[in-house]
Symmetry: C2
Subunit: 239 residues, 2 copies
């Protein structure tokens, strides 16, 4: 092999290594964020303001991860000038970390509501719905990150479609909370707190769906955001 | 001038033109989104479900703009391989349009609540606060887009700091709504609707602040997201 080819191969190997490292950092951040969501919901359901405070404090670490990975992506773009699927990968990482950071923000919001609820000396008045919705969105987030790791556009597409379950549970919870507020004025404060929690969980589901959409974009080069998902299904090859 | 230099100058002129065009498209999208926010709030305050429906329907156009501009940025990155401040500009545009698209989503949410409220045959029960908060966030959005257009990091920084006014108005509105719900069970539904509107307005303010932060990043190369803003102030040169 000519010396020039060896050099080129070496550069290309380094480049691939950089892409893998950035991906690994993003997935690691995803794992941390996933734990934050679960910890925030646990603190809420157990009315544990100490655990809730810990969630709020570790948001700083998530923010730092976002900035570091964003910087990593910038340096890859500036030095390696990737094209085609490599460029899509770097841009997808840059977008996913924004959603992950905002999931971290929502977890902090849930933790703050957990503290409020513990002071209102009330239980989570929509506990079964909160638990159910939290389980669904945590699974969505896990699924979206797994789909990214495995470059699995089909799995991502299935995730991008599945929010009817969240909608149904949200509707059930909201009806129950409105009924409670109408019949028990004393419970209004705690019901409002619970409503904010449910809305945050719903937003976490939205962010997980965004991540799933970026996976499809990255793998297929098809941008499914805002697209009719049925139409996209036709575009994807059978696996 | 040598022919090669002329060619280089020609390419560089084309490149600058592409950057300016992408920026213009982004600012144009910003203008459309700004109008959506104002139209959604007007529909809400006037309980005009026809105008609200129009806001919901034009969200599709905003989504299409996001995809087009994102594609434009991708092509610039792939073909021109920008570095340093040009790269920061393209990445900033790519991030700003995500926030703009989500402001469009929040406007649609407000419009949907306007329709709900018109069916609940109630006035917006926090009208003065809704108006006040809407005015503040619309100004923030306008200010953030202006700062981008003028590459004005100082103006962006001022915007990134100013959310105490929103917080104070949100607190006032929430107290009033909770009082109303406690004293008038019949008003619970409409109060909940209004709460979702206020939350959407608050989120629009968050997105406007994100845009302001991207302006600072673009102009100064300093990432102020999550940073102590006082510390960033020291970093910026006096203008």
């Amino acid at each position: 092999m000519a010396e020039q080819d060896l050099h080129r191969q070496h550069i290309s190997g380094q480049f691939n290594q950089e892409l893998e490292t950035a991906t690994a950092h993003m997935l690691e951040m995803g794992g941390v964020v996933e734990k934050q969501v679960l910890a925030a919901v646990a603190a809420l359901l157990e009315l544990d303001s100490g655990d809730a405070q810990a969630v709020i404090e570790s948001d700083r670490a998530i923010n730092a991860m976002e900035l570091d990975i964003d910087d990593e992506c910038f340096r890859i773009l500036a030095r390696r000038q990737p094209a085609a699927s490599d460029l899509r990968l770097v841009l997808a990482i840059g977008k996913v970390i924004i959603d992950l950071e905002r999931i971290g923000d929502e977890s902090s919001r849930i933790a703050r509501q957990a503290i409020a609820l513990s002071e209102q000396a009330e239980d989570d008045l929509a506990r079964p719905w909160t638990q159910k919705i939290a389980t669904i969105v945590a699974e969505m987030l896990r699924g979206a990150l797994d789909a990214f790791a495995r470059r699995d556009a089909q799995a991502a597409l299935a995730l991008a479609r599945g929010d009817e379950e969240i909608d149904a549970n949200m509707a059930g919870a909201m009806t129950a909370l409105a009924d409670t507020m109408r019949s028990d004025p004393e419970a209004v404060e705690a019901c409002i707190t619970t409503m904010w929690v449910l809305r945050s969980l719903e937003r976490i589901g939205d962010h997980a769906r965004n991540i799933a959409e970026y996976v499809i974009y990255m793998v297929e080069g098809v941008d499914v955001r805002h697209a009719e998902l049925e139409a996209v299904l036709d575009l994807l090859p059978e696996r």
